[in-house]
Amino acid sequence: MIDVLYFAWLRERIGVPREKVETDAATVQDLIAELSAREERYALAFSDLASLRVAVDQELADFDAPLAGVREVAFFPPMTGG
């Protein structure tokens, strides 16, 4: 069970800010594939990975980051602080 969080327009497209996902995905990429296969709104939201960023347990990560032992994965567009 992983907490999956969405921010900004990704949150708006997927329709929820966070959800618990039951998954055996080995990597972030596998998790994206799993969610995208599940429902159209995920497939659409994840269609352009170049415009997405991911954090694993609150640290920026790559899409091939492993999920073993991970509690929280967050997806969001490039950050615009400052």
Binding site: W9, R11, M79, T80, G81, G82
Partner: protein, 147 residues
């Protein structure tokens, strides 16, 4: 080192004075303040800033610790708001203090460059013609390469 993430407004002048009082031995204090822009062309009604509670504080702390490690700083400060902001509201500020101005300037620019692209904030601008998420600028990502 002080990291503040808050919804409520802050007063640039009061924060700058407090910061400067705490670093009297330093000599050089630099501040950067980001302000919600409004222009006649867009009629901004409100800016909504979303963030990632938990990760935000971690990311800002990491960035500030990195600045303290890279330059000879007496202190540094980061304040960033989230929630609903109006035109002319301060969004965020950083302050740095050092013995020499080159360190204070470089550290403040470093903090800003990292904060722009590596701290989990997202801005949405609501104008009379609709709402839009602010897009990341290529220059902001490129700015990280100089450090």
């Amino acid at each position: 080192m002080r990291i503040v993430v808050q919804a409520k407004p802050f007063d640039l002048g009061a924060e700058a004075n407090d910061f400067a009082k705490g670093v009297a031995g330093a000599g050089a204090v630099v501040t950067f303040t980001g302000i919600v822009r409004d222009t006649a062309q867009r009629d901004l009604e409100v800016m909504e800033i979303e963030h990632y509670p938990g990760m935000t504080e971690r990311a800002l702390t990491t960035i500030a610790e990195e600045a303290m490690a890279r330059w000879s700083l007496a202190d540094c400060l980061v304040i960033h708001r989230y929630g609903r902001l109006q035109a002319a509201d301060p969004i965020m500020m950083v302050a740095t203090a050092a013995r020499h101005r080159a360190d204070a300037f470089a550290a403040a620019e470093f903090l800003m460059d990292y904060l722009k692209s590596r701290a989990p904030f997202w801005k949405k601008e609501i104008t009379q013609s609709g709402a839009d998420w602010v897009a990341a600028r290529d220059e902001d990502e490129a700015a990280l390469k100089r450090w």
